[in-house]
Point group: C2
Chain length 127, copies 2
């Protein structure tokens, strides 16, 4: 698989809410960096964070608007969508992925506005 | 100039707080999109927004951590730094630039966490 294909398969597993399959595409030493918060290192942290993101959503759709691959690096612009209750939470994201020599995602760095996420989550969940 | 060279020159002008030169690299129809806020179309809006970002800073340093060029598109990860008073405001950003056939920046889209910016600005300016 090319780096782009790995990222595509990773995101497809996330959309299927299949965290176990998603995590299988990640390196055991993955650095998962949501830029507004501290980096998360390793598969257990990745699993926990994906579950917390995906848990409230009945449907998950991460639209890849554009994606570039340069060597081992994949960069994309996405609209990450989560159906929660009767509404959709929509989060614009720029993601940077580095795929290592074993074909595993070793770095995943997402740039987004946290308040855009929390404001919609609060409106949809009443919390 | 290649698309990357255009973006580099644009950012160098911003670092020099030379808004007039920076704007000369932009298309008159530029769409300037700070993702947490509404898009800004055209040169007068770009000029005004750059002045408001750069105004409070005595020194501006936008570190390009990594940059990719694919066709007319340039994508970078940056640490945008602003010296304000005795401290530095530091903002992680992922930027997407599209350079048109006239060599002008027609799209500039920055992904970042607004609270990371406003929290530091408030601490440094006391506002």
């Amino acid at each position: 698989m090319s780096p782009s294909e790995t990222v595509n398969a990773f995101i497809a597993a996330i959309e299927a809410k299949d965290v176990e399959t998603a995590v299988s595409f990640a390196s055991e030493n993955i650095s998962y960096e949501n830029m507004p918060t501290d980096p998360i290192i390793g598969l257990s942290g990745l699993t926990k964070t994906l579950n917390s993101f995906l848990g409230p959503a009945t449907t998950v759709e991460w639209r890849i608007l554009e994606q570039w691959e340069v060597g081992p690096t994949v960069v994309n612009e996405r609209l990450d969508r989560f159906q929660i209750g009767t509404g959709w939470l929509e989060l614009p994201v720029a993601g940077v992925f580095k795929v290592d020599q074993n074909g595993k995602i070793a770095l995943w760095r997402d740039y987004f506005d946290m308040a855009t996420y929390t404001r919609q989550l609060a409106a949809l969940t009443g919390k």
